[in-house]
Each structure stands twice: as structure tokens, then as C-alpha cells.
């Protein structure tokens, strides 16, 4: 077990330097450690919170609710969302897509809340413009490969989310504009994509193939190996010569960019490992979402990235703790058998309880499975709300539920 996955609650600030949690024998038998969300957001040492998890678990809502709560408790917060639901975006004033943070109207209290929605293509364009001279930048921006790469979802969104995080972080360092950045992560195929995408892209762009394609443009033909001949002729055959030419032009044009890619990916990694960063893994009490959460927790551990806790959204509220599913079902049946329609209302209510209790039991079992593997991960459950959250009051309510545990 990697002890760096979590430090005991209450010592969270000593992140990275603390000794491994002791007394694992006692933690094994008890319920999971509660996740103290207020402690996390109130701690001035917390500078970046990354919300991650599989698609459809409520990451954006969790990120926005944490942001609003932190701001209303006095922090200066910027929330970077990736793909918010339309009405939530409106509530946050994100109608304009200009790729810079805007103040959110309607947040109360001492702090400040800004929000922005990631514009992937624009962020990428800015990277290009910032690292190449105007002529070269223009060449790159117009190349069909660049257009495909910068507007697709496969990895670019993840990479640009991390790029934007780096920019916001640099801005906070320079201007002291915010003291807390909360990032939502892209709706990836798997929760781990955003950790891998920057490195993947970096390794591609300064990999062997790119160097090989660049070789002829750079100089003597002696660099041409037999291997390259086979490869280029194969590519010509399959893609057509024009495609290869475009690819070569693209790569040659952004040659200057490439050295920077790996460096930037490494800087992002370092930022994610820094002591002011906290990961919040978001899940629902469903097998797939919890499985992804488990992978994520393990991955964060092996990457020495600081995990603050697990948020389990959409937990079935426990309406009547004293009456189990089977007891409720039996009682309903008994009423129908003994009194016919006289108590049909009560019988109906009992059947609702039976169904809710059964759902809850199933969810508890799934959550226990997670806790069994990772008893050290602080966890908070958020009960399912009747409707979607699409205004600040709704976000406040989610914030209260997060804090109440």
C-alpha cells in the first residue's frame, strides 16, 4: 500500500512529509474516514483542487458547488469547467465563450468567485501563437493536421485543460488574483485520460517518428534509413502523398513548438504533485463509477499526487432507517392480505420504502467494496436531489450536503 495516497484527516497540510498512517488494523474494521470538505477549502494552503471521475457522475456540479462554497467562506476562487450543462453554465454566467474567467454574479460573502469554460481550440491556438513567430504560427494554424488535432476530443481537451490550469496558476502567482483554482476534468473515456494525455501528446511530438520525418528537412540524406523508406512508402500508399506532405509541413512548421511540449507536460505533472494541490475523486454508487474511482485512487498514489477524498454523488437517502426493505415489503403484504384496500395508502408508502431501502443497501454494498480496498480514503456521500442543479441556490444546497457529510 502506498502511504502517500492520503494523510490522516487533520494533518492534511503536512502532505508529502507525513509518515504513513498508522493503525491500519483499526481502520479496517471501522467505517470510512469522513471527508471534511470545509477543512479542505478553508485551508489557505489548498491552492488547486482537481475534480476527477468518470462521465456522468456530477464532476462539474461538484466543482462548481465547491467553488461557490469556498468563495462564500472567504476564498478568491476561479472555477475552470470543461463542458457544463447549459443551464448550469447560464447560472455561472458562462454564456460567453471567451476563454477567460468572468465574475459569477450572485455569490455572497467575503470571497470572490470567477468561472470560465474551456475553449479547447482557442487555448491551443494561444499555445502556438505564444511559442512561434507570427509567420510560422500562421502556417501551423492553417495546416489541416493542426485543425484536426486542435478541434478533436481525443486527448487534446485533456491536454488543453491542463495547459489552462498552468496558465491560471501562473496568473495567480503573478497577480495574486485568486488563491484557489478548482478544475473540472474532461468527460474522458476513462477517468485516467487527463493524466496521460499531456505526456502522450508530448511523447508523440518529440518521438522517433517525428524526428525521422523532420530529418530530410533538416539535412543530409544519410539519416534516411531503410526503415524510413519502408515507412514512407507505406504511408504514401495508404494515406496518399498529399497527406504525408501535409503532415511533414505541419511537423516542420511546429518544430519549434516540440521541444516545449515535453517540458510543459512535465511542468503540469509537477504542479499536480505540488503540496497545494488536492484531488477530489467524484463517483456515484454504481459499479462502473466506483471502479473508475478505484483505478484513479491507485493511480494518484503511484504518481504521488495528493488525494483529498472521494465524493459519492446521488446516494439514495435513507428515509426510514428502522424499517428494512424486507420488513417494509412484508408489512405492505400483510396490510393488503388483512385489510384489503382499507390501508392501501400505507401499503403503497411501505412499498416505496422497500424499494428505496433496497437501492440503498445495494449502494452501501458497493461503497463498502471501495472502502474495503481503500479504507484510508476520506469519503463523503451526497444524497440524490430530486432535480438537476441549475442555479446558485442549488449549488449552495450541494455545498451544504458536501460539508455535512
Amino acid at each position: 500500500m502506498n502511504a502517500r495516497r492520503r494523510e490522516p484527516a487533520g494533518q492534511r497540510r503536512s502532505r508529502g512529509h507525513s509518515s504513513p498512517p498508522r493503525g491500519s488494523a483499526s481502520t479496517r474494521s471501522t467505517a470510512p474516514v469522513p471527508f471534511d470538505v470545509d477543512q479542505l477549502i478553508d485551508d489557505p494552503g489548498t491552492r488547486i483542487i482537481v475534480c476527477c471521475g468518470s462521465g456522468g457522475v456530477g464532476k462539474t456540479t461538484t466543482a462548481a458547488a465547491l467553488g461557490l462554497r469556498a468563495a462564500e467562506r472567504g476564498r478568491s476562487v476561479v472555477v475552470l469547467t470543461i463542458d457544463p450543462a447549459r443551464r448550469l453554465a447560464q447560472a455561472l454566467g458562462l454564456d460567453e465563450l471567451d476563454n477567460i474567467p468572468r465574475p459569477v454574479a450572485g455569490s455572497d460573502g467575503a470571497g470572490r468567485l470567477d468561472a470560465m469554460m474551456l475553449d479547447m481550440k482557442r487555448t491551443f491556438d494561444e499555445v502556438v501563437e505564444g511559442h512561434a513567430n507570427p509567420v510560422k504560427a500562421q502556417q501551423i494554424l492553417e495546416n489541416p493536421f493542426y485543425v484536426a488535432l486542435s478541434s478533436s476530443f481525443a486527448g487534446t481537451q485533456e491536454y488543453m485543460a491542463m495547459e489552462k490550469l498552468g496558465q491560471l496558476h501562473a496568473q495567480t502567482e503573478a497577480e495574486a488574483s485568486w488563491d484557489l483554482i478548482i478544475v473540472d476534468t474532461p468527460p474522458s473515456r476513462s477517468a485516467l485520460d487527463f493524466l496521460d494525455a499531456p505526456e502522450h501528446l508530448a511523447s508523440l511530438l518529440d518521438g522517433r517518428f517525428v524526428r525521422m520525418l523532420l530529418a530530410p528537412a533538416r539535412g543530409p540524406a544519410r539519416l534516411l534509413s531503410v526503415g524510413l523508406g519502408v515507412v514512407t512508402s507505406a504511408l504514401n500508399k495508404v494515406l496518399g502523398a498529399q497527406v504525408l506532405t501535409d503532415m511533414q509541413t505541419f511537423i516542420a512548421a511546429c518544430d519549434t513548438l516540440f521541444g516545449g511540449f515535453r517540458q510543459r507536460a512535465e511542468a503540469t505533472y509537477a504542479l499536480l504533485q505540488a503540496s497545494g494541490t488536492a484531488f477530489v475523486v467524484v463517483a456515484t454508487p454504481e459499479p462502473d463509477a466506483l471502479r473508475e474511482a478505484t483505478y484513479f485512487v491507485e493511480r494518484l498514489g503511484s504518481e504521488h499526487m495528493p488525494l483529498a477524498g472521494l465524493v459519492v454523488n446521488r446516494v439514495q437517502a435513507e428515509a426510514v432507517p428502522a424499517v428494512s426493505a424486507s420488513a417494509a415489503e412484508r408489512a405492505a403484504q400483510q396490510l393488503v392480505d388483512q385489510t384489503g384496500e382499507e390501508h392501501e395508502a400505507a401499503a403503497g408508502l411501505l412499498l416505496i420504502q422497500a424499494e428505496r431501502a433496497r437501492q440503498r443497501q445495494r449502494q452501501d454494498r458497493l461503497r463498502k467494496g471501495f472502502a474495503g480496498a481503500h479504507p484510508e480514503v476520506p469519503t463523503v456521500g451526497v444524497v440524490a436531489l430530486a432535480g438537476d442543479v441549475h442555479d446558485l441556490d442549488g449549488l449552495r444546497q450541494v455545498g451544504d450536503l458536501l460539508a455535512a457529510g
Binding site: F145, V231, G348, I352, E355
Partner: protein, 330 residues
């Protein structure tokens, strides 16, 4: 009788978390009834099918997954872009050695990452190949192909392979391949089904996806409402709960009658808790009904699958397949 008699390629999409893999699997089981051969494919490397059926991770190989009444069979295939490219190179260009060289130089990884359209062409190209494959007697090897597709957010781009590669390859074999895939995808032999829950965001995304698919001239199939809630309440009770006119005290005699007066919690507290649980339930029903109206307003055939309290196992999948058959989806 199926609502989709001409359709042989069923593409199943939906917002993340709506259960599209479950629905795709149930649909495949339903279509396999009566001795049909069905291929169930996934393209995102998630191994969702293997998990659902609780089997070993699927290789790039068509494996028997389940059987259906009447001798039908469902085979499964996890399509991997790199393996598909190597296979494609070998099949069409006999590029055995060069293909492997491409891989060794990282070209395949490079090409499929830097040009995601190419990746999508390879993935859907394999689906297309299975769809068109014929046995010696000239009959299709598979009566139906079901694709557990990327989620709604990515589906128009994923299926619109033509537009995707058009910017990169104006002529040449990849372009030709994209064109023939597009022809099948836009034909009446294909239907793109959308899975939704009765929640705001999934319904909104379903409506958006229908608009985008229609604009791309891709044939929109049915809408599958997954995990639809049912209620044990009579109309009168439901109305009283919704209006807040039901008094918890009225329930006490019934609870006593049912023997629930000997708990640690007082009967009146239990009554109040039951009522508050029921109030929540009724709110959700109202919300679901409003969203169901929105789904009906999409003017697509709608199929409803019940919420299954115990989670999804093989028995549950057969049960959902039954429901889809009864409603005419399979």
C-alpha cells in the same frame, strides 16, 4: 414484429452513465432470438462488455459471449484502432512487414492521435467489415451488428467519418474507405439509437444529438428510456402526497396493524419518515413525467426499460432483452 425490419447495424449511444452498454447488450440478446447471429462491438477500449457479462477482457477477436433462445448467438469484439489498422494494411495492401515497421516507429500511434478522424475511420471500418462480411453461401455472416458507440457528446463526430477525414485526405484510399463507410451509415440498414435517463441533462443531450445526427444525414433510431421509475401508489394516494394533504397520523393505525409498532423508533416518527420518502418519490415521478413528455416530443419510437433494484447481471440482461422484444425494438 420489429420496428426496424431493415436495420442490420444498430448503433447505441447515450450520455455517459445512462447505461448504453447495458442497452446495447440487451438489444444484442434480443436480436439474437430465433437463431440469429449477432455481433456486439465496442470501440473505446473500456472493456465494458466483458465487465457486464463478467468474462475475461475481450481480445481483438470475435468471441462467443452468450446464447439466445432458438439457437441464436451473440459474439463480442473489442475493436482496437491499432490492431484494426494493421489488419487493414495486411488485408488491402499485403503490408505485413511494413505494417509492423509502422508500428515500431510509433507511426500508428502518431497518426491515430494527431488525426483522430483516421482513428474513427479505422474503428468504424472494422464494424463496417463485419457488417458486410458474407459466408460462402452469400448470406451475411452476421444478421445484426450492434455497436456500443461513444457517448452522445462524441457521436456525431465519430459517425461523420467523411467530414472528419475530408480536411486531411481529399483523395486516396483512406478517403475511399471513409466514403464507403459513410454510405452504409447513412443507409436504411443503419439506425442510431439513443439511451437516456429521465433526468434533465441526458434528455437535453439526447435532443441535441438527434439534431446533430439529422443534420449529418445519419438515420436516427429509437430512444431508449433506461431505469424508468414505476410507482406502487394509487392515483388518489399520489395526489394526496403531492398536495401535502396526507397526514402522517392517519398512517399510524395501518402501521400498528402491520406490526410496525414494536420498533425502537416510534410509530409516528416512522409514519412521518415514510411520508417524507413518499413525497420525494412523488416529486421524482412528476419530474420524470415532465421529461417523458419531452422525450415523446422528440417524435422517435420510445422504449422504456424498468429500474432494476438489484443491479445488472446476466438474468437482468435477458429480462431487459425481453422488454425490448415486447416493445418492438428487437
Amino acid at each position: 414484429m420489429s420496428d426496424w425490419p431493415r436495420v442490420r447495424l444498430h448503433v447505441v449511444t447515450g450520455k455517459g452513465g445512462t447505461g448504453k452498454t447495458t442497452v446495447a447488450a440487451a438489444l444484442a440478446l434480443g436480436l439474437a432470438r430465433g437463431g440469429r447471429q449477432v455481433l456486439l462491438c465496442e470501440v473505446e477500449g473500456r472493456q465494458g462488455i466483458a465487465r457486464l457479462f463478467d468474462v475475461e477482457p475481450l481480445p481483438y477477436e470475435e468471441r462467443l459471449l452468450a446464447v439466445a433462445p432458438g439457437g441464436g448467438e451473440v459474439r463480442a469484439l473489442a475493436i482496437d484502432a491499432e490492431a484494426a489498422l494493421l489488419e487493414y494494411l495486411d488485408m488491402y495492401y499485403r503490408l505485413g512487414r511494413a505494417g509492423r515497421a509502422l508500428d515500431r516507429f510509433g507511426v500508428i500511434d502518431f497518426a491515430t492521435t494527431i488525426a483522430p478522424g483516421v482513428r474513427d475511420v479505422l474503428l468504424s471500418g472494422k464494424v463496417f467489415e463485419a457488417y458486410r462480411r458474407r459466408a460462402r453461401d452469400g448470406h451475411p455472416v452476421y444478421d445484426h451488428v450492434v455497436l456500443d458507440a461513444p457517448p452522445t457528446g462524441r457521436i456525431p463526430r465519430f459517425l461523420n467519418v467523411n467530414a472528419e477525414v475530408a480536411g486531411i485526405a481529399k483523395v486516396g484510399p483512406i478517403r475511399k474507405q471513409a466514403d464507403s463507410i459513410m454510405q452504409v451509415l447513412q443507409s436504411r440498414g443503419t439506425a442510431v439509437h439513443l439511451v437516456t435517463l429521465l433526468e434533465d441533462m441526458p434528455v437535453q443531450e439526447t435532443a441535441d444529438a438527434i439534431g446533430e445526427l439529422t443534420a449529418a444525414e445519419l438515420p436516427v433510431g429509437g430512444v431508449v428510456v433506461n431505469q424508468a421509475r414505476s410507482t406502487p401508489l394509487t392515483a388518489t394516494t399520489r395526489k394526496a402526497v403531492a398536495a401535502g394533504t396526507m397526514n402522517a397520523d392517519e398512517l399510524v393505525p395501518a402501521l400498528e396493524q402491520a406490526g410496525l409498532d414494536r420498533l425502537d423508533t416510534s410509530t409516528s416518527t416512522v409514519a412521518q419518515q415514510l411520508l417524507s420518502g413518499a413525497t420525494d418519490h412523488v416529486h421524482r415521478l412528476d419530474l420524470e413525467e415532465r421529461l417523458m413528455d419531452e422525450v415523446d416530443g422528440l417524435e422517435r419510437p420510445v422504449y422504456r426499460l424498468p429500474q432494476l433494484g438489484e443491479g445488472i447481471d446476466l438474468a437482468a440482461l435477458y429480462e431487459l432483452a425481453d422488454a425490448l422484444c415486447e416493445q418492438g425494438m428487437a
